[in-house]
Amino acid sequence: MSHDSHAGAHAAHAEHHHPTGNQYAVIALILTVITVVEVWAYYIPALVASPMFNPALIVMSAAKFAIVVLFYMHLKFDSRLFRVIFTGSLIVAMCTIVALLFLFHKLSL
């Protein structure tokens, strides 16, 4: 019973910190603005020619990815076990991509 109470209290605590509908709308607006900036940059030849273009796009994409995972998927507010499962898998997946790119000479040191 105490275990159930603990789990219930944990759930109530997590729910308490979930964003409100208006905060979700602000997050959607932020995601839209980042997407608009990405597409706008794609049409500016001077920016595309810059060596910072690709890294900047990847940073913006990673920011959108993190925002959706943290706030819409509630990983920021949910159990630590879920964070471990997801980030662990994501790290392995990203390491796989990088290793394959090195293996096939798409990246080099």
Partner: protein, 239 residues
């Protein structure tokens, strides 16, 4: 059966969902978490691996197609026919926006189910009232997902008409495989959403157990969205 559970069952005759909530305690594990949610997060972790393999295949073969059409540059075939850069960024940007908004609708659908049974202030405006309609947000999410699939069908069809199929070159093979797998995931998500909408219309979605049903679907849907966020940048925007 404990006294509290028995009491919950007695009340359940009057309030079906309360009894349902009492049952949900049986799903908890030693971690204090529902094992179905742990399973979904583990599934999402395995999906990361799947899409990582598809994305790395695309990146490894990027720029290695011997013949066109190409994604970002023009190509002239030996007969002198000119093929323009095949990716249509404005159309894909619109479909990306649609998928982002579907995630927004999905999170509001979950919130609407969580808020069921909680009192609404008499002064609440239309936005507060709309936030309580799980059927509206589930339908909106499914419709936006369907619009995204419509954009993808249009894109695939126009590519085939412009001479790019899955067999044309390395770009075609890796592009159609990656985006096709993603589209299949969106299709599964839309069917899942429609089934939740059907349940909501037939008996209503309320209580902790139903919240979990919507939460699991929402996790899958948001994952499909974040995969597209990566695809949009890596395939469409980076030249």
């Amino acid at each position: 059966m404990t006294a509290q559970t028995a009491a919950a069952h007695a009340q359940g005759h009057a309030h079906g969902h309360d009894a349902h909530d009492a049952h949900e305690h049986h799903h908890y594990t030693t971690t204090g978490l529902d094992n179905r949610k742990v399973a979904v997060w583990t599934f999402i972790g395995s999906e990361c691996m799947l899409f990582a393999s598809l994305i790395s295949t695309y990146l490894i073969y990027k720029g290695k197609s011997v013949i066109g059409p190409f994604p970002h540059t023009e190509w002239t075939d030996p007969a002198g026919k000119v093929y323009k850069a095949i990716l249509d960024i404005p159309v894909t940007s619109a479909s990306t926006f649609v998928l982002l908004m579907s995630s927004f609708a999905m999170v509001l659908a979950l919130q609407a189910v969580q808020l069921k049974g909680k009192p609404l202030a008499p002064t609440a405006g239309w936005w507060e009232r709309l936030q309580r309609s799980s059927q509206f947000w589930l339908l909106a999410t499914a419709l936006l997902g369907t619009v995204f699939l419509g954009f993808q069908s249009y894109e695939f069809t126009s590519f085939v008409h412009e001479g790019l199929t899955i067999k044309t070159n390395l770009f075609g093979s890796t592009f159609f495989t990656l985006t096709g797998f993603h589209g299949a995931h969106v299709t599964v998500g839309v069917l899942w959403l429609m089934s939740l909408l059907w349940i909501d219309r037939s008996r209503g979605l309320a209580g902790k157990n139903d919240e979990l049903l919507v939460d699991i679907c929402a996790l899958y849907w948001h994952f499909v969205d974040v995969v597209w966020i990566a695809i949009f940048t890596l395939i469409y925007l980076i030249k």
